[in-house]
Structure formats: structure tokens, C-alpha cells
Symmetry: C2
Subunit: 186 residues, 2 copies
Amino acid sequence: MSQDKIINGVNVTQLVNTIELIKEKPTIADFKFRATNKWVGGTHNRARVKDFFGAGEEDNSRAAMTFEIDEPPVLLGENQGANPVEYLLVALSGCLTTSLVAHAAARGIQLRSVESRLEGDLDLHGFLGLSETAEVGYKEIRVSFKIDADLSPEQKQELIEMAQKYSPVFNSIAKPVPVKVGLAQD
Amino acid sequence: MSQDKIINGVNVTQLVNTIELIKEKPTIADFKFRATNKWVGGTHNRARVKDFFGAGEEDNSRAAMTFEIDEPPVLLGENQGANPVEYLLVALSGCLTTSLVAHAAARGIQLRSVESRLEGDLDLHGFLGLSETAEVGYKEIRVSFKIDADLSPEQKQELIEMAQKYSPVFNSIAKPVPVKVGLAQD
């Protein structure tokens, strides 16, 4: 481990090894991520993340992580947690950042700091069923990055383009994903 | 307040008042939600949610909420938090649940409990840039609901269809959303 090449805190040696393993056995790239949710009351509910499937096996080694979800009073809640559309921005911010940092590391680009601000426009006519034409989801999301590194503005622009290209959450929002919702069979 | 009609913990009187206010002044339905993110190191970063714009004014009254984002060791992280694609499932679970509970309340339907399980399929070939054809985002997300209420299976099915129709996060994932990513101008 001591000779591993680490850039931006990313173990590039392990990253390259992972890529070689996937080239030998493509199915180890198949991951399944999960969450469960339990309604608490009103607009308050609680999600839990623990196990996942990846690299050919079930991983149940993490401690469970719970997330409180609620709305502010103006949206009938009691501020017991961030609301669902805010969690979506949290997910997007984390994924673009990790994608940017990891792909910079793979190319040997050192970063000193990465910060971002996100804002999304939501028209409540959709959620409330007051319009058949209003978007129910976000109408638009804007993300602004501040990168501290010895790079030109053009090179920073390339980084944020790479971040988008390879970010699973960005691509799950910018492109349509099939979401199948059903009743449990029990 | 004491005569307000409360169903499933949702203040239906306030909900109806909000709808009437929006019919009078449609712009109060325009909300802007926000998050910021700061890279910590490697695949670890931290998001923050606090202020938003809604009902015609800035709301800065909430305490800041922070979210640790990281990957498990198999994905080069150190388990400092759930990963971005897991946060996406958290967001989806919360939004479908709130949408289901609120629209049930608006129709006078009493619920005893609502639970859900979510699973999404991710092929790392996309994130790693090992395939130009693999989906970078989730290939598919499955959601399974368990609802305890005095309802027939058909009525429960109607509820989960309503939950999807009116859920902003569901519609942000199932349909494409324009996401504009740029460098901060400073």
C-alpha cells in the first residue's frame, strides 16, 4: 500500500487495478444501491441506507445511516430535516464533486479545493395538481463550481465537463431513468 | 388553529388555503431550493442545506443541515457517509412518501403506515469511462411500497400512482431536467 499513487486523496493505483479487473470480468462493475423509508407522520419520513451489492458480492459491513426528511412550515412541515428536492441537490453536488476529483486524479491533476453552489427551480403548481402543463419536477438546476488548482480557466472548464460526463447522479437527472413503483407482494 | 382539519399529520386546512392563495397569485408557487458542497478529500465531500426562496420571500430561518458524502472502500472511499447515488434514492423515497401521504390526506384517506424499499442498478463502466454505450446514470430504479390502511389493493395502487404523478423528485429522475453546470464568475 505504501507505494500506491495517491492524488487528491484518491488511490489511483487501486483505481487502475479496479479498471483492469473490470476489463477481465465485466460483471463486477454491476452495482445495486438501496434505501428504505418509513413514514413518521405528516411530511416527516426517515430513510435508511446500509447494504449494497457490488464487485460480485453483498456488502453489509457498513453501519446504518439514517436521514430525516421533512418540509419547512410554509410547505406544511416542521423542519425535522431537509426536504426531498434538497436531498436531490445534495446527491447531485456530491456526485459531480467526486466525479471531478476522481477523474482529475486519474489524469494526474492536483486540486487544492473544490466548492459548488446549486439552485433548482420548482413550480408548486405541479405538486399540487393545479396545472397539467407545469413541470412537476425541477424546471432547471444550476450548478456553479469554484476550483482552486494550477489550471487555466479552459482546463477548469474541461474538468467540469468531465465531471458531468461521468457523474451517475448528473446523468440520472439530466436524462430519463426508468423508475418502476409497485406494491410489495406480501 | 385548533379547528384545522388534520389528516395523516397533514394540515389539510392549510393545504387548501395554500392552493387558494396560489390561484389568486400564481407566482407564490415559484420556489428555489439550494445546496452547497465542499470537497473534503478523496471521495469525501460535505453538502449543506439552509436557505430557500418560496412563497414570495427568502427563508433563512432554518438551522443549517450538513450531509457527509463518501464511498465505501470498494469504491475508493472510507465510509464517511452514504454515496451520491444512495442520496438520490433517499431523495426519491422521501418525495414519493410525502406525495403519497399529502395527496391521500387531501382526499380524506387515513393511513396507518407507509414503508418503502428502493433499489437501483448502476453499471460502473459508465462512471469509469470504460464504455461509450453503458448508461452512466442508474439503468433502472425499483420502488416497492407497503401501505397499511383500510383500502383495497386497487385503492393502494391508485395511491402509488398519485404519488408518482405529483412527486417532484420522481419526475426529476423519470424525466430529463436541464442541469447547467459552470464555473463561478469570481
